[in-house]
Amino acid sequence: MRLRMRQWPSMESRESRAFEILVREHADMLIAYLRAMAWNDALVDDAFQEAIIVAWRRLPDFDRSKPFAPWLRGIARNTLLGLARKQQRRHEIAGDAAALHLEHQLARIESTPADRFSDRLEPLMDCMKRLAPEQREAVELVYGQSLDNSVAASTAGTNDETFRKRLYRARMQLAECLRRKGILEGEPA
């Protein structure tokens, strides 16, 4: 019996470790971008994983004189669109113009001096303090405690529809606050 004892390829290579570091560095940005592009968490998670894999494949093509984040977002968007098409959820994805706007806004956020993506969101934390109590509670329940809307609504003592509107208004208020701070661009809401 002739056995071919080829070494099992390993991800312990320096290149792959460097790539993982790069991925971790941009993971928060990427997930924020994908969630802004699509509301469905499962779809977002699938797209995240696929985007990482595609990025690894295409890494040799990446122009290292350019920033990594926009390149990664481009891959992520295409991946997301492909998955959404397969799952017949294309209508849930932000359109081209909105995607372009999101890309521009994230590039602005990334240009602010900070070590980590979360540090760049300090203005958002500040804006949250300015929300009305019931709006702040809605944000805290859904985003802080990761409750789904129905559970959060009953916890807040209201119905789903009222809660959904409250949360929507909270996000709009936060977006407007960030715009006033110069973090985001756009006309007043």
């Binding site: 928060d28 499962a42 998670d45 909105a98 990761s146």
Partner: protein, 406 residues
């Protein structure tokens, strides 16, 4: 906001962006992000190690049948988050969270034979850092029958081997010595429903099957460093690469993907693809009134999934008896595959320990008349089997090659 307007609704887009940004501030975000990245890197590892080098067809093949290491492992290490009131939220937890540490699971696949008997394929799996597994056919559960026309001709024009040979058996397309031809047809699409040809068992039992080097595999495993396979004659083949091994289909009860199959045709034999489709294709509900605690008193989460009505009808569609006519072109085969339906189970039940976040069991049942009847993944006690269990020597038939049919 209008999704496809060229004229962008900036406040609306900003609101979406705030949603994205807020989601990175959640208390559990860092841990979730870490799991997400680790899962992506693990997939990268596997793809880079195996899938990238075998091409599209190889990928389909690997994903469909031989990918216990890649799919089942992921499937069974998934865990459920603390009890939630939403079945969808719980399912998302299942799909998103990768557990750490070593656990042991038993994986059973029950196939319906053409004569109405059932054939069991059973696996023992250690997951996590010490990933190992064994698949073995329960020989006693297999019916006795002569070789039938389907065995020799179910895939005309393609020859007996689409996977390639094991390392020691010669050039591609040949399983045996050059003047020999292995019996083709690890017959029987896994989830194939409807009338079956008279002979269709996946294990070859005729005289051809007993030629040296041509016997079908009866056990297949990975001991943590090396893949191995044992055929009916007791011959052990070892390899560092699962794809170089003899066809694992009969062990998995899996299908033979067409050359033109695409990723949409991913098999549901393993749990992960099943979970992936549950959300979009199934109605989910948290079962109340079911057994709600383990024997130790720990609370359980039980989710039941049934196909959404439109998909359910599709899943029940049957396939023409001679559905594998080889003269059909790729488009015809692809269309037939669509007509055949997605081989959806008719019912899936997931049980998890709500306190410890462990997936305890997953049971998928297919409609009556399907080749694949039932798939069960259940957690067993840690170290339920010793290390030796994962070596091939533990699974060689007592009298190799001497087993008599019937």
């Amino acid at each position: 906001m209008t999704q496809h307007d060229d004229h962008v609704d900036r406040p609306g887009a900003n609101e979406r962006l705030v949603h994205g940004l807020l989601s990175t501030l959640a208390a559990g975000h860092a841990a979730g992000q870490d799991r997400r990245v680790r899962a992506a890197m693990a997939r990268l590892d596997r793809r880079d190690g195996v899938l990238a080098r075998v091409g599209r067809f190889g990928v389909a093949r690997f994903a469909a049948a031989g990918a216990l290491a890649a799919t089942l492992t992921i499937a069974v290490v998934l865990s459920i988050g603390p009890a939630t009131s939403s079945a969808h939220a719980t399912l998302q937890s299942i799909s998103n969270r990768l557990a750490t540490g070593n656990r042991s699971y038993r994986h059973s696949i029950m196939l319906t034979n053409p004569d109405g008997t059932e054939a069991l394929r059973e696996a023992t799996v250690d997951v996590g850092t010490g990933r190992r597994f064994v698949f073995a056919i329960d020989l006693d559960a297999l019916p006795t029958r002569p070789l039938g026309p389907r065995d020799h001709g179910n895939r005309p024009g393609q020859g007996p081997d689409h996977l390639g040979p094991p390392d020691h058996l010669g050039p591609p397309g040949q399983h045996c010595a050059p003047d020999q031809q292995c019996p083709p047809g690890m017959a029987g699409m896994a989830g194939e429903c409807g009338p079956q040809p008279a002979s269709g068992d996946s294990l070859q039992r005729g005289p051809d099957a007993r030629r040296p080097g041509c016997s079908p595999p009866i056990a297949w495993g990975f001991d943590g460093s090396e893949y191995w396979q044992i055929d009916l004659d007791g011959v052990v083949t070892r390899s560092m690469e699962p794809l170089r091994m003899r066809d694992p289909m009969p062990l998995m009860g899996g299908s033979e993907p067409d050359q033109d199959s695409d990723s949409d045709e991913e098999e549901l034999l393993t749990l992960q693809p099943l979970l992936d489709r549950l959300e979009s294709g199934f109605d989910l509900k948290v079962v109340t009134g079911a057994q709600s605690r383990t024997a130790e008193g720990d609370p359980l989460v039980v989710i039941e999934a049934t196909p959404k009505s439109d998909l359910g009808a599709s899943a029940q569609r049957t396939m023409p008896p001679n559905g594998h006519a080889g003269r059909d072109g790729p488009s015809v085969r692809r269309e037939r595959h669509r007509m055949q339906g997605p081989r959806m189970p008719s019912r899936v039940r997931l049980v998890a320990d709500a306190r410890t976040n462990e997936l305890l069991s997953a049971v998928a049942e297919w409609p009556e008349g399907c080749r694949l009847a039932r798939m069960v993944v259940e957690r067993v006690a840690p170290r339920a089997v010793d290390d030796a269990w994962f070596s091939p020597e533990q699974h060689i038939p007592p009298v190799a090659g001497a087993r008599q049919d019937g």
